[in-house]
């Protein structure tokens, strides 16, 4: 799942992107990715989260060149909603 740079990015689009990328990594349907379940419960270990972060950085680079997720912030991201909040805040999205 990739974000379309022609489409303005908002919080909902980020949520779709995060769910889609995590679903791809875990080889599940996006519909099976809960926004509030801890990553561990979804089957995502630390390596899967690094895969997620790298995929998000690559996709969001189309919107903000050099978009980067701080490694220190990773420890505070436990759910899809946490990740969406972090990206939305970093990109100053509504």
């Amino acid at each position: 799942m990739s974000a379309d740079p022609a489409t303005p990015l908002d919080r909902a689009a980020v949520a779709t992107l995060v769910r889609g990328q995590l679903a791809e990594i875990l080889e599940k349907s996006p519909a099976d990715i809960s926004d509030v379940a801890p990553f561990a419960e979804l089957g995502a270990d630390s390596l899967a989260l690094i895969e997620l972060v790298e995929a998000l950085e690559e996709r969001l680079d189309d919107y903000v060149a050099g978009f980067h997720i701080d490694d220190a912030a990773l420890e505070g991201l436990h759910t899809v909603n946490d990740a969406v909040d972090y990206v939305a805040a970093k990109l100053h999205l509504a």
Binding site: E27, L47, I50, E51
Partner: protein
Amino acid sequence: MSLPIALDAMGGDFAPGEIVAGARRAVDELGIEVTLVGVPERLGDPRGLPVVPCTEVIAMDDDPGASVRAKKDSSLVRAAELVRDGAAAAMVSAGNTGATMAAAMLRIGRIPGVVRPCIATPIPRPGTTPMVLVDSGANSECTPEMLVQFAQMAAAFHAAYFATPSPRVGLLSIGEEPTKGTPLVKATHELLAATPGLTFVGNVEGRDLVPSPVEVVVTDGFTGNVALKTMEGTLRFVLGSLLRLVDTDDETRGAGRALAPHLGPFVGLFTPENQGGAPLLGLKGVCVISHGSSDATAVMNALRVAHEMVSSGVVNSLRSVFRPGEGG
């Protein structure tokens, strides 16, 4: 002209000297093409081998995931990228094992359907093909489903690499009965028994590792690594004791001289440097992990293993396990 093997020249306790020396030997003695990946100012004499330059090194004690993210221009990450980009046929590293796993996963990628790659270490069996121990250190925490995948990958590896028609698979436990073992072992036993395409023979015990009655022994990476290092240490102690014993007086020295021609090949078979390295199974490309203490001989043999992994088409065999019909 075939693609070279990308060698992380900065990884390992004796890098870059022994790594470069091993690469040179692989070129001269085995005819394998090798590209070094390293920091030119620290590499020293590349001994006529091509070098892909980089600026960073992942240390043995660096955090695996964080270092791969932070050190994007490291020799390890660049070596994995050469495989990803089709500029190298395989990669070899004697560096940080966890970081090698992370770099290979993030840059080369997993075969679709594979949850986690695993390290498959061949353990010699005199007179026949080796037993393959999976996982011997990549994944400390595993689920039963992961162990089943490890068994499937190791069996496919054994079939392709050693030309074994139906590799027998055993599950490492503390007794032969299916009711013995941890909850992980018991759940895995049940799943393995129900997995089509596997020749699962049940549980095996620690004493069945050398020599093993099966071609594949599956366990989690923590247990596998402890078992592997226990075997290495025990063998080193026994062989060292034997060598001291045959050098105590004239009588034992005479016996030693008589035994030497028979012991030599046996010792050589079980010398880790002669094995070289263990493949990381489950990736879209070939990655071989060599011991951190690898010398030039070990590096040369790790390159040999990588070369043979490519020529035997192991990756395609593994693909066909998870997506039947797409391999080959």
